[in-house]
Amino acid sequence: MRITVLAFSAGFGLVLAAAPAEAAWRGYISHPLGFGFAAPGDLKVEKGTYKGAVAGSLDAIVYRSVDDNIEYKAIVIDTGAEANQSATLLGEAEYIFQDGKKLLMDSFGRVDGHYGRKLTVDLPNKGGRTTAAFYFVDGRIVSLQATVLPANGDYDNPEMARFVDSISFYTVRAADDAIELPMPK
């Protein structure tokens, strides 16, 4: 009996050692951009560019982290003077996201009085699976995208949904210890 217990304990230790180290999830908030979310890992900010036939070329802010071979991205696209075309700009961003990919899910998203969409696609060339949410808030397209990379391989991982569903547009609903998101330099 004692041998069994020892073997079980040793095996449990091996399982723990084999499991990849996963970073803790933290709350993030941007008061100037009016949204918050939760993500694991070390979040970095960079500037980006978004292009669409209707939208043209627009500046974007990208917050990104990678943990356990899952990439987490929050993308904010400032539509500026084109904000009056919000419905079409949001629809175009959603369409571009899934264009040429295998669409696995396309459903309503609704957060804090804002309607958007949640989509899941398989990336071409076995590049992984991405779940994304798209919303239009205060003149900006806000998209959260979680991509399970092939090195992870667990394409039903609930962390994708946890990430995209963590978004809030009421900053008071962010975690008390949420970190203020920096603006790119």
Binding site: T88, G113, Y115, R117
Partner: protein, 190 residues
């Protein structure tokens, strides 16, 4: 053999009579509302109302015809003061349309090509209590919400009829692309 031929000749007109008469399709246009579509039957206009949590209470303009037990309806409402909220107003209307119904299709809608494109959605639902099947298209552009709905009623029963798709796909917001002989829609009086 002669009896068969006579019987066939007699039954042919009966078959023709049994097929319901279908009205011709016409193009309709509203320069004031900035859109055009095609529908069969006599399109009549009437005012209506709509209320959504985000949209609030709204007056609507409804253009409607019924042909072969299919109801064709276009609803237009104005949000000129809330254009930047168009995405949410559109999403709310789409959500309300399918809420509590069996969704058969929910896909991208796009009218006009390239940078003139207007994105929306096309949704098909089965109505509760065997009330028929509705295919709808939703677009928000230039401060107006446009909804095209074709409902195949149980009396028709051909729920796969292509006429529903023909109707919702006939919409255009580029009036230069509308039929030259399109009938100008009468704006309903409030």
């Amino acid at each position: 053999m002669r009896r068969f031929a006579i019987a066939a000749l007699l039954s042919a007109p009966l078959a023709v009579i049994a097929v319901p008469a279908q009205a011709a399709w016409h193009s309709y246009i509203s320069h004031q509302l900035g859109f055009s579509f095609e529908a069969p039957g006599e399109v009549k206009s009437q005012p209506g109302t709509y209320r959504g949590s985000i949209a609030g209470p709204r007056q609507t303009m409804v253009f409607r015809s019924v042909d072969d037990n299919i109801e064709y309806k276009v609803t237009v409402m104005s949000f000129l003061q809330a254009q930047a909220e168009g995405a949410n107003i559109l999403g709310e209307r789409e959500y309300m349309f399918q809420d509590g119904k069996k969704v058969l299709m929910d896909t991208f809608g796009r009218v006009e090509p390239g940078k003139e494109a207007i994105y929306g959605r096309k949704i098909t639902v089965d109505l509760p209590k065997n009330g028929g099947r509705t295919t709808a298209a939703f677009y928000f552009t230039k401060g107006k919400l446009y909804i095209l709905e074709a409902t195949v009623l149980p009396a028709n029963g051909d729920y796969a009829t292509p006429d529903a798709g023909r109707f919702i796909d006939s919409v255009t917001f580029n009036l230069a692309r509308a039929e030259k002989n399109a009938t100008e829609l009468k704006i309903p009086e409030e």
